[in-house]
């Protein structure tokens, strides 16, 4: 039994690992692939947009510098000093520094927002250049360009524009991208997880159906086989039984007891075979309306005849008079099996049967004060041929479950070692 349980556990673990792998392979890997493609494509797209935006801004700033040169040229003609000219641009937020140089590239005057900061190297500079530098306050677009005053004198203008707005725009674009990327990732994970759950549910159901089908086929085969054997055994048993009956009439008085015992033993073997056959055959229900209380009473009577019930009381109570639409014979057998188990497990006390109706269902609860069922056996008690009793065949509870399920009902058990057992039965109708 232990070995069977271990194998079941191993199989469950193996299936869980397989499910995990399938999950990764069929759901998240393609999604991850899509995300990577999206990320690469978006990054390239953003880089292109950034480049084109920078080019546009550069063109724009060069155009603005062109306007400045015209205005400075005009101021120079009007004999304004360099200080006065640059003072005009002190309100311009985007100009970080500006310098005016003569034709020999000597600085005539300059102005900067930051103390002494004029990042111009005259050693390597050409006649017209533009470049971008990084600074702690962001990127700065530098433009160095010649121009002539209205009097024909040559000058150079050096100007540094803040690219803060452009950087803000790029930062905004990057934030938006990561936000969208994050949202898509989350939505994708949730969506694929949902899809996976659905698929897993479907596969579980499919597997359950397949297992059930296999189980049915297996029992059909066993049933056919054992029915054949039972039939073959029952014929000679019947003959033996008849023979013992004849013997009982003819043997002397002192042998009557022995013959009677022999006859009972044969009948016992016959009953066992009947039980086996019954447990393997599919049920054909002959439903009828009957009183649950009366049925339980019959079962109790039958038990009192068969077993010694000293010190044990069986009580029955119901919320109202309950009529059950079921196969009376089979139901009697189911209750007989349950109560027989309870009796065998209990030494003294009261076995309580309580029945009530709820939402079109009949609910029955059977409590016994017995020794209880060990936790490791709980899953197996409804299995065929599982028994903890020395004389038991392990058919009773299996048969009970089959009978209840044949009536589209359910049976459950709750137990704790040393603290009794409770069976819950739920049958539609009533």
């Amino acid at each position: 039994m232990e070995r069977r349980r271990d194998e079941t556990e191993k199989e469950k673990k193996r299936q869980a690992v397989l499910k995990g792998r399938n999950f990764l392979l069929f759901f998240y890997l393609p999604f991850l692939g899509i995300l990577i493609i999206f990320f690469v494509f978006s990054s390239l797209n953003r880089a292109t947009i950034k480049k084109r935006t920078e080019d546009l801004v550069k063109e724009q700033l060069q155009a603005a510098a062109g306007i400045l040169k015209v205005n400075i040229s005009h101021f120079l003609k009007e004999n304004y000093s360099v200080d006065e000219i640059f003072g005009s641009y002190s309100g311009e937020e985007d100009i970080y520094y500006i310098a005016l140089l003569d034709e020999n590239k000597r600085i005539l005057g300059w102005s900067s927002r930051f103390e002494g900061y004029l990042p111009l190297s005259l050693q390597a500079i050409g006649d017209e250049e533009s470049w971008i530098i990084d600074s702690p306050v962001g990127k700065i677009f530098n433009f160095f360009s010649p121009f002539s005053s209205e009097e024909g004198k040559s000058y150079f203008l050096y100007i540094g524009y803040s690219l803060g707005n452009l950087e803000e725009m790029i930062l905004y674009s990057r934030r938006s991208f990561f936000l969208i990327f994050g949202l898509i990732s989350i939505i994708g994970i949730v969506f694929f997880f949902g899809l996976y759950q659905l698929q897993r549910h479907y596969l579980d159901k499919k597997k359950e159906a397949e297992d059930e089908k296999k189980e049915k086929e297996r029992y059909r085969d066993i049933s056919a086989f054992t029915s054949g054997i039972a039939h073959e055994i029952k014929n000679p048993l019947n003959s033996l039984s008849l023979l013992f009956e004849l013997l009982q009439k003819r043997v002397p008085e002192e042998l009557q007891k022995d013959v009677s015992l022999g006859k009972e033993e044969i009948q016992k073997v016959s009953r066992i075979i009947d039980q086996f056959s019954a447990s393997l055959k599919p049920f054909r229900l002959n439903k009828e309306m009957f009183s649950l209380a009366e049925m339980v009473s019959d079962v109790r009577e039958s038990l009192f005849k068969e077993f010694s019930t000293d010190g044990i009381e069986i009580s029955y109570s119901e919320s109202s008079s309950i009529m059950l639409n079921a196969d009376k014979g089979l139901m009697q057998q189911a209750f007989l099996n349950l109560l027989k188990n309870s009796l065998e497990a209990s030494e003294k006390g009261r076995i309580g049967i309580r029945a009530w109706q709820k939402k079109g269902k009949v609910l029955v609860r059977i409590d016994d004060p017995g020794r209880g069922i060990p936790e490791e056996d709980m899953e197996l008690i409804f299995e065929p041929f599982f028994s903890t009793k020395k004389k038991g065949m392990g058919v009773g509870l299996y048969l009970t479950k089959k009978i209840i399920e044949a009536h589209e009902g359910e049976i459950a058990v709750k137990s704790q070692t040393g603290q009794g057992t409770t069976f819950f039965i739920q049958i539609p109708g009533g």
Partner: protein
Amino acid sequence: MEYVFWKEEVRKSFFIILFILAVFQGTVFSQKPDHFYNVDTEKKIRGTIQKIVMESRYKDASPFLIVVLEEKKTEEVYNVEISPVRFFAHDFHKGEELEVTGSLYFKEGEKNIIARQIRFRGEIIMLRDKKGFPAWRGGEMKQKKRRKGKRF
């Protein structure tokens, strides 16, 4: 791309409006021609502190710490512009040694250096970046560091 073109139009209008405003504003913010951090005239000197003074060096800026340094090899004297006084957390004393890397310029026959990096009592202190951008104006990160009590 529509967004970019929209930005371009706004930017164009923005420049024109600012230019017109600036022309009529007339506030002076320019400096003397030679007094800027010229990367082409960068020099390293090592000398002894002769004098420490505070001077106003830039318009609308707080006073600067100026160290008069005598170079060891040549015994030439340099006026070394360190940083705004409020920014500098160290104490200089006459006779102490100082190594300065900075941009050299001449003013009224005197040699002046705008310091970028100084080595003082075995510690290197960065005052400007390699292009001369002042550390005391250096973005959010440096300001945060300063709030925590560390100035460089």
